[in-house]
Symmetry: C2
Subunit: 346 residues, 2 copies
C-alpha cells in the first residue's frame, strides 16, 4: 500500500434522461502500488465528454463497454507521475491518457499514457485542442469531409470543444463556414474570434427544419458541400435539404438525442443522400489513432502560431465533475470543459 | 417528314401517391427526320424504373429534371436504327440508350446510344443485367460495399432487377447473403436459383423493426458487414441495429417512401452509425459511368457463363407501360420489368 487515499466518483444508478447530480456518490479508497509496467498518477485535470453518456446505457452495444455501477467512472485525464514501475516514465513526468478521470489518483498500465510537455501548452490543452477533441475535429475534416477551397462547410455545436476546432480548420482550408450554437454570446465568439462567416442560434428556429432549411438555402444557394454533425435532430433534416451534389458528412455526435428516453425518429429526407450522391461516415476518434503523428504535425504549429484558438470552461475540484458533465447537455459551456482535480505541481 | 407516325405516352398530371393509369394519355405524332449527328430509332424494348417516380415530383430538386406535363415521358430503351445521320450508326443496327422510352419511334442525338450485339444476349438484357440495373448493382457492391470473403451482406428488394444482381455478386465474392422480398415465391427463387443464404418475406414482420432486428441478430450474430438499400423504412431501422463495426452501406433507393404523400420519419437509430464507424454512400449509377468498360469486363463473362442469372417480367405493348410502372411499387414483378414495344426485327 502506498498510504495514499483517493476520492473517486461512482455511478449509483444509470440516468433515465439527463444525468443529474443525485446519480453519483464519492468513495474514498486506498491507492495501490504500481505493478510491473504500471504507473501511479496524481490527476491534475480530468475531462467530461458527451460520449460518456453513451457509456451510461448498460443495454446498448457500443464501441466501448458501459460503466459499471459500484465501480469508479473513468475517462481521459492529465496527471503527474508519483511512482513509476514502467520504463520511460519517471516521478514528476506529466502524462495524458484515456484512464484516470473521475478520481484523484490512479494506478494502471503505463502504455495507456503519453508524456506531454507542460511548457509547450497549458496542461489542460492536452484534453482539448491537442487531445481527443482536437484530433476528432481534425480527423473528421481531413479524413471524411475533405473540404476544398471555395466550398461551403456547415458545423453544428460550432462553439463546442470539437466544433470550434472544425470551424477554424474549415477557414484554414479556404471554406465559407456556417456554424450553429445555442446562444448569441457563442455566435458572437465564433464569428468575431474564430472567423466563422455565418453563425446562427439554433433556438431561434423553434425546432423547425423548414424554417432552418430556408435560412440555409439563402446562406448557401449553391448547396452545402461538407457537414460536421455534432447535434442531430431538426438541424440534420434542414442540412439534408441543402446538402450539395457530392456532399460529404462526418457524423461525430448527435448530442440532441443522447438523453432521450424515447427514440426520436430520424430525418424524413434521407432519400436526398441518394440523388445527390452524398457520402456519410460515422466515426469515433479511435478509428484514426494511426494518424496521431500527422495530427500533432499539423495542429501543433497551428496552435503555437495562434491560427487555431481555443477556449475552455473550467470547473474547480473533483466534486464539480457531475455538474460539469450535466452542463454538456444543457449548453452551459463554451469550448472544452475541463475539471481541475489538483494543482499543476505539488 | 418521315411519313412515320409514333404513339407516345404523356403525363396528364403529377401523381399524388401511387402512379395510377388515369394520369396518362397516348398521343400520336409525326416522326421527324434525323438532323446532323442524329438517328431515328424504332423502339423494341422500353424500361420502367423506380427513379422515374422521382421525376414525377415537379417541386423536388434532383439530379435529373422533372417530367413536363404535355410532353412525352422518357427513359431507357433498346431499338433498331431506321435512319442514321450520324457516323458509326447504320440502318438495322441495334442500340441501347437513355432516351426513347414511352414511345414507338424516337429521333435524337446518336451520342446517347451504344450499339449492342443481339447475338450475345437477348436484346432486353441490355435494359437489365447488362444495362443500368446491372451496372447499379455492380457499382454499389464494388465501389461502396467492397465485401470481403466470409462477411455477411444484406440486400433489400433482393428479387428485383438490381437486388437480384447484388445478391449474386455477393455470393461470387464469398459472402453470406441475407435478402428480403415481398412474397414466398420470390424468397424461394432467390434461395434456390441465386444462392441467397437467408431470404425473408418482409411482410411477415408487420412493419416492426424490433421483430426484424431480432431475426437479423439471430441470422448474423456477429453483425451485418455490408448493406445494399433499395427499400428504406422499417427494414433500414432494423439493419442499423445490426450493422457491424466498420460496416458499409450503399444507398441506392428507398422505394417504400417514393409514393408517400406525407414525409415519413427516418430511423431513430442513426447514432449507431457513429459508434460503429459506418460508411454510408448514396449513389446513382451515373456517378460511375467512367467504369462502364470495367463493368462489361466483369459482368459480361459472368452472364455468359451463367454465374449471374437474371429474370424478367415482360409486359406486351406500349399501352401496358403505365401498368408496368405502377407494378414497380406494388411488388407485382420479379426481376427486371421490360416492355416490348415492337418486334426484334421488322
Amino acid at each position: 500500500m502506498t498510504g495514499l487515499k483517493s476520492r473517486e466518483i461512482h455511478l449509483k444508478e444509470y440516468p433515465k434522461g439527463a444525468p443529474t447530480a443525485d446519480l453519483y456518490e464519492i468513495k474514498e479508497v486506498d491507492v495501490r502500488e504500481p505493478g510491473e509496467g504500471e504507473v501511479l498518477i496524481r490527476i491534475v485535470w480530468m475531462t467530461v465528454d458527451p460520449y460518456m453518456r453513451g457509456r451510461m446505457r448498460p443495454d446498448v452495444k457500443s464501441y466501448i463497454p458501459p460503466f459499471q455501477l459500484g465501480e469508479p467512472l473513468d475517462g481521459g485525464a492529465v496527471g503527474q507521475v508519483v511512482k513509476s514501475n514502467a520504463e520511460g516514465f519517471a516521478e514528476g513526468d506529466y502524462v495524458v491518457g484515456f484512464n484516470g478521470g473521475w478520481r484523484e489518483y490512479y494506478t494502471g498500465p503505463a502504455e495507456a499514457y503519453t508524456k506531454v510537455d507542460p511548457n509547450l501548452a497549458p496542461l489542460s490543452a492536452y484534453l482539448g485542442v491537442l487531445g481527443m477533441p482536437g484530433m476528432t475535429a481534425w480527423a473528421g475534416v481531413t479524413q471524411i469531409m475533405e473540404p476544398k477551397e471555395g466550398e461551403t462547410m456547415m458545423v453544428t455545436g460550432a462553439a463546442g470543444a470539437v466544433g470550434s476546432i472544425v470551424c477554424q480548420i474549415g477557414k484554414l482550408k479556404g471554406c465559407k463556414v456556417i456554424g450553429s450554437a445555442g446562444s448569441q454570446e457563442k455566435c458572437d465568439w465564433i464569428t468575431s474570434e474564430l472567423g466563422v462567416d455565418v453563425a446562427y442560434n439554433y433556438k431561434d428556429f423553434d425546432g423547425s427544419s423548414a424554417k432552418l432549411s430556408k435560412f440555409l438555402a439563402e446562406q448557401a444557394p449553391k448547396g452545402i458541400d461538407t457537414y460536421f454533425e455534432n447535434v442531430g435532430g431538426f438541424q440534420l433534416e434542414a442540412l439534408l435539404n441543402n446538402i450539395g451534389f457530392g456532399g460529404r458528412i462526418a457524423l461525430c455526435g448527435m448530442i440532441s438525442v443522447y438523453n432521450n428516453t424515447d427514440p426520436e425518429p430520424g430525418p424524413a429526407n434521407l432519400t436526398n443522400l441518394i440523388g445527390r450522391g452524398v457520402l456519410v461516415r460515422g466515426f469515433i476518434v479511435s478509428n484514426y489513432m494511426n494518424l496521431m503523428t500527422q495530427f500533432f504535425g499539423e495542429m501543433g504549429p497551428w496552435v503555437a502560431s495562434g491560427k487555431v484558438k481555443f477556449r475552455e470552461t473550467v470547473y474547480e475540484g473533483l466534486d464539480s465533475a457531475p455538474e460539469a458533465f450535466a452542463g454538456l447537455f444543457t449548453g452551459d459551456n463554451t469550448g472544452k470543459v475541463v475539471i481541475r482535480v489538483g494543482p499543476d505541481s505539488m
